[in-house]
Amino acid sequence: MTSHDELLDNVAAYALGVLSPVEAAAVESHLQTCEQCRAEYEYLRPAVTAVAYSAEACRDESSGGVAASPLLKARIMRRVRTEAAAARPARRSLGTGYAVAAACLAIAIFAALAAFSLNRRLHQELAQSALQSQTIADLTSPESAHYRFARGEVVTHADRLYLTMHGLATPPAGRVYQAWTLEKGAARVAPSSTFVPANGGAAVLRLPESATNVVAVAVSVEPEGGSQQPTTKPIALVKI
């Protein structure tokens, strides 16, 4: 093999990123002056990028492949949107007086609806909306504690306890997923909520137990209606 063939081999190794700093510097210097090696480098680089793509996570996380938690996006976007909003110039098209009046009007409308109980369904939806808002706020809060496992995480915020999972298969007919909690000093786990994942295999639920008392959370597949003790091997177990 000629010395230039060896250089071409080193160009491939450089493109792949497997040279020592000294070797990499030598190749970089050579690439500045050698058209042939530079052409080889430019030819091979897309192949190296393709190697990266071979690790690309699954589009359909319920297929059982590697996939990031949907909560990750929520955490990142919360920060990005906060910073984007801060970067926008303040709008002054509406005067302060108008804004205050609009807020007062909204409060008045809300109070009127509440006082006369005009629409029970509205109350339920408002309560559900408030719960969802608190869930989203807790799950994406930087103050929350996250305890990750392979397909999800347990999140605690003050005394609130959440279980989030993704990539879950639909349970067989007559079966559900059931969460279990282990309280401080307890010898056995206690039954918590049962659930089935949404389309796409994701589940987010607030567990009724207080996060301050719970030291571990587990999940198993159980008969519909739940069990008093796990009847199958847990698919997830995380210590808090």
């Binding site: 990123g17 190296v48 990266a52 690790a55 590697v66 910073e83 392979a150």
Partner: protein, 170 residues
């Protein structure tokens, strides 16, 4: 990226949706740890958001995958799993050269193309890319001469390049 530079959260979200599986997948492959891979993914995308000027045109996927790999290597190093690692922390020229991009590239297509390579070529490529090791370390761990490893890496990359060129537009 122009819109991300203008602090457009919607444009950033579109980038995240398109590339997070690549970033997370590379980090997970290097680290074999879902939590750490998510940390890397978060760090990479927040870097994209906070310093969009660091990307100087070219192939965004290649750039972001490289950052993910380097961040994952940093974690491997910090865990001292590879204390003898000699890889440079950054490869400045690689960031400066605009890369030809395959159109419509995706993981499944590349996995199929990689699977077509002879194992003797595929394995040193994957060890090098995801293992954070130098070609000398690959040679030592496989017991093969360094020259053989170099040739196999180059031959494998050329073959992969040609295979993908046959199946996708460039």
């Amino acid at each position: 990226m122009e819109r991300v530079r203008a602090r457009d959260a919607g444009a950033f979200e579109a980038l995240y949706d398109q590339y997070h599986r690549l970033v997370y997948g590379v980090a997970f492959r290097v680290l074999s740890d879902a939590g750490a891979a998510e940390d890397v993914t978060q760090a990479v995308f927040l870097k994209v958001w906070s310093d969009p000027g660091a990307f100087r045109d070219g192939n965004f996927g290649a750039w972001v995958a490289r950052i993910a790999r380097n961040r994952a290597y940093d974690i491997v190093r910090s865990r001292a799993l590879h204390p003898q690692n000699e890889l440079p922390e950054s490869l400045p020229l690689q960031d400066a050269v605009e890369e030809t991009a395959f159109a419509h590239i995706d993981g499944e297509r590349v996995r199929l193309a990689l699977a077509q390579l002879p194992a003797e070529q595929r394995e040193p490529i994957e060890m090098g890319f995801f293992g954070g090791v130098t070609q000398e370390q690959i040679a030592r761990s496989t017991g093969l001469p360094l020259g053989t490893i170099k040739t196999r890496i180059r031959s494998g990359l050329r073959r992969l390049r040609a295979a993908l060129q046959e199946t996708v537009a460039v």
